[in-house]
Amino acid sequence: MNGQNILTVYGKELRDSLRDRRTLISMIVIPMLMIPGIMAVAVGVSTKMINKARGEVPTVMVLGGDDSPVLRAALAADPKLHLVRTAANWRQQISDKQLRAAVEIPAGFDAALDRGTPAEVKIYNYDGELRSGFAVGELRNFLNDYREKTVTTRLVGRGLPAALVKPFEVKTQNVAPPEKVGGNMIGGLIPYLFILLCYTGAMYSAMDLTAGEKERGTMETILCSPVARTDLVLGKFLMVLTASLTAALISMISMGITFVVGGILMGAPRMTAAAKAGPLPMLDPAGLLLVLAMVLPVAVLFSAVLLAVSLFAKSIKEASSYVSPMIILIIIPAMMGLMPGVELNARLALVPILNIALVSKELVSGVFHWQYLALIFGSTCIYAAAALAFCVHLFNREEVLFRT
């Protein structure tokens, strides 16, 4: 190994890459635009949806209850419900999302209530639809209040205290710091994006430096220079790693800018509100830096694997047919890491990529399990070193360099 030669090769590859539009796009432009793009879409869509849903008074249809004017009047008096005229096609209307929900009052409801015999009120909704859900919530609130009022009236009528039916009150209050709430909602996605960008950032560079050289006929030229194969591959590897880390770093910087600019544009209180509502994560900055440190060996691993795989190909097209489907291998473990209930343990800490996805979820929400961090960093370093050694080995094989 000759450090001078490695640097010479690296310097040339860097200069060469900086003049290549496609490498620049995958290394700089995409990472720069990806996070602000995703943020803008996520924030825009979800705040609009929630605000719209919250802001609207749900349209509700009352079915039956002609002989129960008391309940009907109470329903009509609720400002949080907008009653519409009864129509036969109410099921269709709910399906078409013209009607949020329908409430069915059984015959003789008012009278049954007076007699004290149980009755059943039915709510029809569009399950899983956000605005229908709000309508159901409002209807339930109304009916619960109505029931409690009825009970209280009955108790008072019999000279009993109202506390008889409400022996205790239940209240929920969030005590987690806001970044934990946000972190768990979407925070897991952020490091996953870094991992993905690490891969896509290195992808084009790796193909260009190996299969691309074969395709353009420069591989043979460089191989007949006295530089040792190992120096050559290490110089190239450094370039691919540079592309990978640049992509991750730029996406990180761009995310920082997105938050600052977004904060100014939206105003801090609305940011916090959005974070609480879910779409905007509040992230622990120290955790985020640690994520970047954990991504370092992953970038080495990706760069070495990408270099090895594309070295095997004869053309960029062939290389890309190997390398593009491999994205799945990153997406699946990262997605598994995002699933609720999959938590970090010593065994999962040894599974590449999945371990990073899991630990990142913790890191951005400000939880630091140092022993896992060490285990993950160490194991990823070992995988990365093995991949790099394999890559160097391949580069010393003429069958790979001169494949026909």
Partner: protein, 249 residues
């Protein structure tokens, strides 16, 4: 100086099985001489030259190039060799100057030596006009000159040319031929592969005829003419490779 001893290269191909691309080939190229390796397509010329340039490792046999063993000291061999082939392209996004400097540095030249060498090669090969332009915009002639400068940057003692005139127009091809002669004048050891008979007649001091990986005849033009009783290179070639050479040539 190049000395090949029983050089053999066997490729294992999934479809074609075992291919003896170079089969027990021995020859010697001396300084100040041009050795012509003449053979039809697929005869094994490129493989032989790649073995000498240490791009491939021999299956059996060996060679010394400029006194270094191709198996034991491949990096020192490459440091003494300039290799120019149709398949050795240039980096399109580098300028001619950057290209020459890059290969100079990989050959261990200092920055000062690189600068001096670039200046000198630019003078000799008349590169000044496009020295700082990117290779991707060059004409074939400009690329060829830059390739020659790249080959010569470390002033190698041995020059290996693999069909360097293939696909070139007459003027560019003539430039190459002139340049190969120059190398001889300067006392370099030159090996030159071709399938063009007239190039052999024009250039080579010694000819080796290679067929199906085997060196079937070797000698100066005069010697070969005497041996086969004909003067024309094409006739010599046909007789040397025997009956099955008819379809190969």
């Amino acid at each position: 100086m190049i000395e090949a001893r029983n050089l053999t290269k066997v490729f294992r191909d999934k479809k074609r099985g075992e291919i003896r691309a170079v089969d027990d080939v021995s020859f010697t190229c001396r300084p100040g001489r041009i050795y012509g390796l003449l053979g039809a397509n697929g005869a094994g010329k490129t493989t032989t030259l790649r073995l000498l340039a240490t791009l491939l490792r021999p299956t059996a046999g060996g060679a010394t190039v400029a006194g270094f063993d191709i198996v034991a000291e491949p990096e020192r061999v490459r440091a003494s060799v300039g290799f120019l082939a149709t398949s050795t392209a240039l980096y399109g996004r580098l300028t001619a100057r950057e290209t020459i400097a890059y290969f100079g540095r990989l050959n261990g030249l200092s920055d000062a030596a690189v600068a001096a060498r670039v200046a000198r090669l630019a003078d000799e090969l008349d590169l000044h006009e496009f020295l700082d332009r990117r290779v991707e915009k060059f004409s074939t002639g400009m690329k060829q000159k830059t390739s020659i400068a790249r080959t010569l940057v470390h002033d190698p003692a041995v020059l290996i040319f693999d069909e360097p005139t293939i696909g070139l127009d007459v003027m560019t091809a003539r430039n190459i031929v002139r340049f190969v002669r120059d190398c001889r004048t300067r006392g370099k050891t030159v090996i030159y592969s071709t399938h063009v008979m007239s190039e052999v007649e024009k250039l080579c001091d010694l000819v080796g005829i290679i067929h199906h990986g085997r060196l079937v005849a070797e000698g100066s033009l005069a010697e070969l003419g005497e041996r086969y009783g004909v003067q024309d290179m094409e006739e010599i070639f046909i007789r040397a490779v025997g009956a099955d050479g008819e379809e190969a040539a």
